[in-house]
């Protein structure tokens, strides 16, 4: 038994030594964290009284927005809960359309600028940097800020929302697409270049076929995110279901809040499932295509 306790003793000693070595680091880190938390609590105006009084009120709020559904009268209850269903469905339809149109427009902008933004396309350092900084700017400004500005310039309604989401989408997709462009293999390009093609032909025939599946997959992923964005863009008056949601929350129409939220969650889930199915199919066909290529040689 002695050798076992020996081993334990050695492990414990090594552990103590390590603790001694890294102890001051942990202390420093913990101290910095404590200071940050203290500062944030002060800045964030957090207090226990607020928290203690706020939590039960939130619980009461949730209970109040839940619909009265009993199993015996389920049909009538549902009808009463979803009394404004046609109008809400129309607004949800608008929301999905806002996401669709702005994803397409954003993807078009991102597509054409992603080639100059990629380092390996031979567009020169200046245009690459310009395109990248442009994408970065579009990405960093929050959609809602664009929406606030555009509501002022283009008036209330979906147009402001579509343009705001378009710009943000262009920024995000542009970055991703240019990164995909930088990962392509040169071998298939060489064939096109050797045939004497100009640069736009090389991109059209050599680059695009390689990157298209990844592009489509990212565009679909962005569409899913944009449906969510389109649902909140209405909070500043830029169209979609958000405006109605803001109205019922601010007017304390409790049952309608849960009804709209439930419809919204279902809509987002449906869009996610459909888009995910398409994405997986694209990825699967890509994989089978890639594995088929070597045998064709």
């Amino acid at each position: 038994m002695t050798h076992v306790s020996d081993a334990i003793g050695r492990v414990e000693a090594a552990r103590r030594a390590q603790m001694r070595r890294t102890g001051w680091k942990t202390l420093l880190f913990g101290g910095a964290l404590a200071v940050l938390i203290g500062l944030s609590l002060h800045q964030g105006e957090v207090s226990w009284t607020k928290f203690i009084t706020g939590l039960p009120r939130f619980g009461a709020y949730i209970i109040r927005i839940l619909p009265d559904l009993s199993f015996a009268t389920l049909g009538a209850d549902l009808q009463g809960w979803m009394w404004n269903l046609p109008n809400w469905l129309k607004l949800l339809f608008d929301t999905v359309l806002i996401a669709f149109v702005s994803t397409v427009m954003g993807a078009i902008i991102a597509f054409f600028l992603s080639f100059p933004a990629a380092r390996n396309m031979g567009f020169g350092r200046v245009s690459t940097q310009l395109a990248r900084r442009f994408f970065e700017f579009l990405r960093t400004v929050p959609e809602l800020v664009f929406a606030l500005l555009f509501v002022f310039a283009f008036g209330l309604g979906p147009m402001a929302g579509v343009l705001a989401i378009t710009l943000h989408t262009a920024g995000v997709l542009g970055k991703m697409m240019s990164e995909i462009n930088e990962t392509i293999t040169d071998r298939s390009l060489e064939g096109v270049i050797a045939a004497g093609a100009s640069r736009d032909r090389v991109i059209r025939l050599g680059v695009v076929p390689q990157v298209a599946p990844a592009f489509v997959s990212y565009i679909l992923l962005r569409f899913e995110i944009n449906v969510r964005s389109a649902s909140v863009i209405g909070l500043v008056g830029a169209g979609g279901i958000g405006q109605e949601l803001m109205f019922v929350i601010n007017q304390f129409i409790y049952r309608d809040i849960s009804a709209i939220l439930a419809l919204l969650i279902v809509t987002v889930a449906i869009v996610d499932i459909v888009s995910e199915t398409i994405r997986h199919r694209i990825i699967a066909s890509e994989v089978s295509h890639a594995s088929a290529t070597p045998s064709a040689h």
């Binding site: 938390i37 105006e45 806002i98 800020v145 606030l148 500005l149 147009m159 909140v232 500043v236 803001m246």
Partner: protein, 285 residues
């Protein structure tokens, strides 16, 4: 192109259909798809009331705004703006911290290999789906009407929405851990609590840190706009200055937000690298 070369290509095309020119079948499928897509796109645009005429008119207004934005000024409110920016960062920090702390036990409860009874993790995961399905801004709107205006509503909104996402990520990370170390602890006579503390926690800790930092980064962005609905931070001033058409102030605020977000991005990336570096060293040893 030389005629004989053209003839050569034509001969090749007839011998190997589908190589030089696309086959009729796929060609028509593609044409049909794209025309259908375009019809959908234009129908949707018309339905939403988009028009070039409105676009050009709005662009003119936007130009007027842009001209009034320069030069960005603060009209003596810079102290308030900086304070609100600090409030924004505090909201993002506390919201992420609270979400991380709440998500950790929820992650354990939601993991299939820790809690064996399926109703618990199924119910928990559906509840998390609902919490996650409602946007932070909508939660903020709800919390403003529950706890009143101010940054506290924003912190709660960020904490709640992030709990929905982080708990799911943690649960999946816990499900994907190496099971051998859990078995080792159990073989040495450890209880389930010991397994969680000594085998599972050290494995998921790097995932936890990396995700929390990543969320802090994202939350800094979303916290800048929560003020639009009255939930504290710089967004309040931004929405207010837009409402009263003080465009040079708007430009000043946007120029404050952009570098702050960039600095937080860099800081978080650096800390993430640090955490991952430690992880790699631990594996090497």
């Amino acid at each position: 192109m030389l005629p004989q070369r053209q003839a050569h290509i034509e001969a090749f095309a007839s011998r190997h259909p589908g190589t030089v020119y696309p086959l009729a079948g796929p060609l028509w499928t593609r044409r049909l798809f794209w025309s259908g897509f375009l019809i959908c796109f234009f129908a949707a645009s018309i339905h939403l009331g988009l028009s070039f005429e409105r676009f050009w008119r709005g662009l003119g207004d936007l130009g007027v705004i842009m001209r009034q934005m320069w030069p960005p000024t603060h009209h003596g409110f810079w102290r308030e703006y900086i304070g609100a920016l600090g409030e924004t960062l505090a909201m993002a920090f506390l919201g992420t911290l609270a979400a991380s702390l709440i998500s950790l036990p929820l992650g354990f409860l939601g993991a299939r290999n820790v809690v064996k009874s399926w109703p618990i993790h199924f119910g928990l995961r559906r509840a998390l789906d609902v919490v996650r399905g409602v946007d932070t801004l909508v939660w903020a709107l709800i919390f403003v009407s529950v706890v009143g205006l101010g940054p506290f509503a924003g912190i709660l909104a960020i904490a709640l929405n992030d709990t929905g996402v982080l708990a799911k990520i943690y649960a999946e990370a816990i499900e994907n851990i190496d099971r051998r170390s859990s078995e080792a602890v159990r073989a040495a006579g450890g209880t389930e609590a010991d397994v969680a503390r000594l085998a599972i926690f050290p494995q998921v800790f790097p995932v936890l840190i990396a995700n929390s930092l990543y969320f802090f980064e994202a939350n800094t962005r979303s916290a800048t706009i929560l003020g639009v609905v009255g939930a504290g931070g710089i967004g309040y001033f931004l929405a207010d200055r837009i409402r009263v058409n003080a465009w040079s102030d708007v430009a000043f605020i946007i120029l404050l937000i952009l570098p702050t977000v960039a600095v937080i991005d860099i800081l978080s990336r650096w800390l993430r690298g640090l955490a991952q570096g430690r992880q790699r060293n631990a594996v090497m040893r």
